[in-house]
């Protein structure tokens, strides 16, 4: 019984490992990024593109949604979020530091969540 359980565990682990090794070269994500205006749009997109492996990044001013397509062999959505938080824009997962936020020009100082 114990062996069976172990065996099943092993199976699950190997399956998940397998799933991880098969990485998507065109993985599509939509995440929310806080910001206000066209300047924010430029900054957010620029930050996303600065991450190697990001193929497409477009942030919509009205919906605050960032659409990205990334090569998961080279990067992850987390890395993109970190890069965006670094230039002063919050995502749901990664908050920007106060310093970076304060550095934003006045029109870009969005209401923080």
């Amino acid at each position: 019984m114990k062996n069976l359980f172990l065996g099943m565990m092993l199976l699950v682990v190997t399956l998940s490992v397998q799933a991880q090794t098969k990485k998507n070269k065109n993985a599509k994500y939509t995440i929310e990024v806080n910001g206000n205006c066209e300047q924010c749009q430029n900054r957010i997109q620029k930050a996303a593109f600065s991450v190697s492996g990001v193929k497409m990044a477009s942030w919509d001013i009205d919906s605050h949604k960032l659409n990205v397509i990334i090569n998961e062999e080279k990067t992850s959505i987390k890395a993109v979020e970190v890069a965006i938080a670094k230039v002063g824009h919050d995502t749901k997962e990664f908050k920007s530091t106060k310093e970076s936020y304060d550095k934003l020009p006045g029109c870009c100082q969005y209401d923080r969540w």
């Binding site: 998507n24 065109n26 599509k28 430029n42 997109q45 620029k46 593109f49 190697s52 990001v54 193929k55 497409m56 990044a57 477009s58 397509i69």
Partner: protein, 675 residues
């Protein structure tokens, strides 16, 4: 084996379902409130003319769709055919690339009248690009590109009706039908008819001011759209038949054709078009796609101008394969592909046979860099092999930079090369006593060499608030330098006095066209927009008789357009008012000094102004009526036809037209939709 297949099928299914719908860009209907849109984010100097703008001047076809737009000058063609010619940067349509849905449309045989073969109601939008343009569609454009998008079946309303009538006895009827054939197929049928039935001679010179005309134009198009799989396709079938009769009011073609009883002209054109487009957007990669376009058309014009016979039939095939993708990310995009063009011309000028076959094959690569904020660049090049133009390279470059907020600076440069279809492009000159003389014989196109020009442009635009209202100011400066050109010479005095000629020869010396446009646009009060533009043209060519400005080209022009709209009420009721003012400076006229004194024209035409207006009353979202006037100041050219008393004599010339012939014209029409 069976298992493998089922696994394959399963994975395929998974792949399809995981491919979400929004990856394929849906063709967007432009519903913004502005009629002329100029984005500060696009690289080339392109203005988008929306369907809303096109409604401002309701009459009637593509040639007449530019009246409210300062980038393009609408000119008057010969006094006979009434077809309007357009100019951009001071150069006529042969130097523009005119596309319909990115397939070259007005070219070769259709150069003179082609713009009047697309009814205005069919047009969804027009993109006008000043300067060199993109390499994707070809090497021919020199001063600009005009691309017309027709209404797409997929988002069209089921029924549309437009009727139009005017005081110069022109009547038009447009009906559009649209049907959704399945969830992926849609179809549209556009039927256009126009006629001018009454003979009018307002200036009493014995000649019709506008030709009698009849046109039937039918377009049937099918659109396939599959968002899940990323496929989109168009198939178009089109038939057009256009008949014009011009000349003396007493001219009866059955009795007088080919005689000197009365001077008359008939121009009959029949045209078939079949075209197809297939586009595919790769799964999970909205930035990667390919497109394949094919177009076949047959254009057959039978015509005579007095005793001059001119027949041309052009059978063409055009094919374009394009692949779009990215390098690393969407900041670096590229387009690459192949073009193929085949043109069979059967051309007869009186008894001379100029029939020929032209073909070319080319490959292009265009790189786009966009830093996603304030800088972008398009660098393109293509290599073509043409049986008459040889093998040649065409580079083009566009740069856009936003130095500070709401400011756009653009630079462009590029090369264009083309063969001049001297007869088709200058056929208005057949309506004169001129003899056509080609002075060169060694070239491959009527004995002449191909035309080559470089175009350079610089433009700047700044948007700002004036008393809290949206305004913008800007300038465009463009320079076109011809290194080779076919000169059309109307200045050189004939060797035998009392005769007239038009000379065609290879440029020997300099030829250039400089243009400067200064724009100022402001919303004066809410819903009241004013557009103004001043344009300066310095266009000079070295003729045999010396350097001179191009004939029939005003050096100074001023343009103003006022548009006012009332608020749309709940029931969709609205008034729209539109007024356009054009002032044209003096234009140099062709040589007439050797004529007897009564048939001489001054060296320069007088300057004059023109005013058009239109009032539209929308009764609901499905019904509206409009009323308008053109040339309401009633300016008319004195002596529209030189030597009209003796049309078979040596001084006869109906091609020197610098102003309207007809005078004021009023029109009214209605539009009805079923949504």
């Amino acid at each position: 084996m069976k298992k493998q297949i089922s696994i394959l099928l399963l994975s395929l299914l998974c792949a399809f379902t995981s491919y979400s719908q929004d990856t394929l860009k849906v063709v967007k209907v432009v519903s913004k409130s502005k009629g002329l849109q100029k984005s500060s984010k696009i690289t080339a100097n392109t203005t988008l003319v929306t369907s809303k703008e096109l409604l401002k001047a309701a009459c009637c076809n593509l040639a007449e769709s530019f009246e409210t737009n300062p980038s393009i000058d609408v000119n008057f063609s010969d006094a006979l055919t009434g077809t309007k010619q357009i100019k951009m940067l001071g150069l006529t349509s042969p130097y523009l690339m005119i596309d319909e849905e990115n397939i070259p449309s007005v070219r070769g045989a259709s150069q003179a009248y082609g713009l009047s073969f697309t009814p205005g109601t069919w047009i969804e939008s027009i993109q006008i690009t000043k300067g060199a343009g993109s390499v994707v569609n070809g090497y021919e454009s020199i001063s600009g590109q005009i691309n017309t998008e027709l209404i797409k079946p997929i988002n069209n309303i089921p029924f549309f009706l437009n009727a139009y009538g005017s005081s110069d006895s022109r009547f038009e009827l447009n009906t559009h039908f649209n049907a959704k054939l399945s969830d992926k197929w849609s179809s549209a049928l556009f039927v256009h008819g126009n006629a001018r039935t009454a003979k009018k001679d307002m200036n009493d010179d014995g000649f019709l001011d506008n030709p009698l005309a009849k046109q039937v134009n039918i377009l049937n198009r099918y659109q396939y759209y599959n968002a899940e799989k990323g496929w989109v396709s168009f198939i178009n079938f089109r038939y057009m038949n256009d008949k014009k009769q011009a000349g003396e009011t007493d001219f009866d073609p059955n009795k007088d054709k080919g005689t000197t009883n009365f001077w008359g002209s008939e121009i009959n054109t029949e045209r078939f078009d079949v075209s197809s487009k297939v586009g595919y957007v790769f799964k999970d990669m909205p930035y990667q796609s390919f497109g394949f376009q094919n177009a076949f058309n047959s254009h057959n014009q039978d015509s005579y101008y007095g005793l001059n016979q001119y027949n041309i039939k052009q059978s063409s095939f055009y094919s374009n394969l394009i692949f779009n993708s990215i390098i690393n990310n969407t900041m670096h995009k590229f387009a690459t592909g192949l073009n193929f063009t085949y043109d069979k011309y059967q051309e007869f000028v009186n008894v001379n046979d100029y029939s020929r076959i032209d073909n070319s094959i080319g490959a292009f690569f265009e790189y786009t860099y966009d830093n996603a904020s304030n800088f972008s660049l398009i660098a393109g090049g293509r290599v073509d092999n043409h049986n008459r133009l040889g093998t040649f390279f065409t580079p083009r470059l566009h740069i856009r930079y936003n130095p500070w907020e709401k400011a756009t600076l653009r630079v462009s440069a590029g090369r264009g090369k083309r063969s001049a279809n001297i007869f088709a492009e200058n056929q208005s000159l057949f309506a004169s006593s001129r003899t056509f003389d080609v002075l060169n014989a060694s070239g491959k196109i009527y004995g002449l060499d191909p035309e080559i020009a470089w175009n350079y442009g610089l433009s700047f635009n700044q948007k700002f608030k004036l008393f809290g209202r949206n305004s913008d100011i800007g300038f465009d400066f463009y320079k076109t330098d011809f290194t080779k050109q076919v000169v059309v010479d109307l200045y050189t005095a004939p060797a035998i006095s009392g005769t007239h000629q038009v000379l065609f020869y290879n440029l020997n010396g300099k030829s250039f066209a400089n243009s400067l446009q200064i724009d100022f646009n402001v919303e004066l009060v809410k819903h009241l927009d004013i557009r103004t533009a001043y344009k300066y043209y310095d266009i000079q060519t070295d003729y045999l008789s010396g350097s001179s400005e191009r004939p029939l080209q005003a050096k100074h022009r001023f343009f103003a357009n006022l548009g006012y709209e009332t608020h749309i009420t709940d029931k969709g009721k609205q008034w729209k008012f539109d007024f356009t003012y054009n002032w044209m400076g003096q234009q140099k006229l062709p040589e007439t000094a050797s004529n007897p004194i009564e048939d001489r024209l001054p060296v320069y035409s007088p300057s004059y102004s023109l005013m058009n207006f239109q009032i539209t009353r929308t009764f609901s979202s499905t019904f509206e009526m409009y009323f308008g006037g053109e040339n309401v100041g009633n300016y008319k050219q004195e002596k529209a036809i030189l030597g009209s008393e003796n049309p078979f004599g040596s001084t006869f010339d109906a091609s020197i037209v610098y102003a309207p012939v007809f005078g004021q014209m009023y029109y009214a029409g209605l539009r009805f939709k079923i949504k």
